[in-house]
Symmetry: C2
């Protein structure tokens, strides 16, 4: 096999399995190449990804070592993704009676979801989450793509108890905005004690659902290392969780003037983020 | 930029966006290379992917042309994925009281889900689906990964009506096994008339839910080009939908002997499939 062929194959295998370590022995067996040759190939791939802002290729030394691809987005790509979101959400055709916003198509586009997942993964990567937790339904696609970019399992909290989940932990909580009593439940098997959990959801108003998820993780003795939401509303300004990250802020939906006021969240404008992959 | 660097970059961009056409002009701008040079690079990537069974790289001529990566799995990889599923499902620790099977972890692993999505995409690719439709909740991860591999949008049918979905089409149907009346609803905006739809779900017993989804798509005037389920039960043998594809067949869960009898679906044993990508 020629170098260019090996490089194509190794790039494919790495990009296909974000955050997963592939050993040089595995690659050697598949491609019939010596470790020293493969190391040179990997260096070329690493430099190319870095130069073009396509993510980070990490080599890990030692017996358990190998190489992995970490889909870290550059700050510019993150801004582009969120700008695309803001543009799309601003479309007045999204306005529904009662000031609701149609958003199902946002969580319908696999390509946009992949980028959003990589964005959350980039933001929370350094907190080393070991699982992503969300609550049904609309948060699931975002949470899955985040779990994919981090290569950790996804746990889906249910709104009702299912026989097919086995022993579940069920919790009642008060939704922050509507002050309704809601139920969430999760199988005992889904999260082991001590698992570092990243909570991902699509929408935060008062933060009651996120608060409920944080409390539920407390019952599992699983530390929450981050909370990420796609969209937060400007009001109420006081949320029921403190430490969370949103991508866009929905300021207002004005039915009369058919205007959606939405903007990127402030942290995306900062320049000194440690998670800058570009 | 050297050839090996360009090849790494082009492979990354292609694999990252399954089924999406990238024009030579785009690549040329990004990498500063002539079209003829890029064509040679792409030929190398195409041959490598083909040789190693890593999917298909297709070049499309003409003004709207370019190149795209189609994640077609070889029959061997498909069998390996399903074998892994069968092994995992056979674990007696999955048995829950009442003969239920704990399966939430199956739809929790991003890497396995990616492969399952590619498997369904490989199976249904030639029917040219334009959208993937599923019903909440546990089918969503599988459906999303199938939509990702096909690069088509995902529509999630809800079990209840939501204000934030706008005008919805709501349908009652009778679940095949429990003979309960269930509700499903989908926003009018989610599927345009004429959209070729692939239905994906996690589990089929009598097929009542799949039948409901097929009927619902009829109301949207959207032709169903395929139905895929992760797991079907052996009984009842007569399902409420005719033309469907499962990956594994759950024959029996025996609580007393703590045995799960599960096997790969028959079509996977055939050798003459036209969708063989390897």
């Amino acid at each position: 096999m020629r170098r260019s062929e090996r490089i194509s194959a190794v790039t494919k295998l790495l990009v296909d399995r974000p955050h997963q370590i592939i050993t040089l022995a595995e690659l050697g067996e598949l491609l019939g190449a010596a470790k020293s040759t493969l190391s040179e190939d990997i260096a070329i791939i690493r430099d190319t990804c870095q130069r073009l802002g396509l993510g980070r290729v990490e080599t890990l030394p030692g017996a358990a070592g190998g190489v992995r691809y970490v889909p870290l987005l550059s700050r510019q790509v993150m801004r582009d993704v969120v700008e695309q979101l803001v543009r799309s959400l601003s479309d007045p055709d999204r306005i529904l009676p009662g000031g609701f916003l149609y958003m199902s198509d946002i969580v319908a586009s696999p390509h946009l979801l992949t980028r959003i997942g990589e964005l959350f993964a980039t933001r929370f990567y350094e907190r080393e989450p070991q699982a992503v937790v969300t609550v049904e339904t609309r948060g699931i696609p975002i949470a899955l793509m985040t779990a994919r970019a981090l290569n950790v399992p996804l746990a889906i909290v249910r709104r009702s108890t299912r026989l097919s989940e086995g022993t579940v932990l069920t919790m009642n909580y008060v939704s922050g905005s509507a002050r309704r009593i809601e139920t969430m439940s999760l199988s005992r098997r889904a999260i082991a004690p001590g698992t570092r959990v990243l909570i991902i959801d699509d929408f935060m108003k008062a933060g009651g659902t996120a608060r409920g998820l944080v409390d539920l993780m407390g019952e599992f003795r699983a530390p929450v290392v981050g909370v990420g939401v796609l969209i937060e509303t400007l009001e109420p300004r006081q949320k029921l969780v403190r430490d969370y990250v949103s991508l866009v802020v929905l300021e207002a939906v004005e039915e009369e003037t058919r205007t959606v006021r939405v903007r990127a969240s402030e942290w995306l404008a900062e320049d000194d983020s440690p998670s800058d992959g570009g």
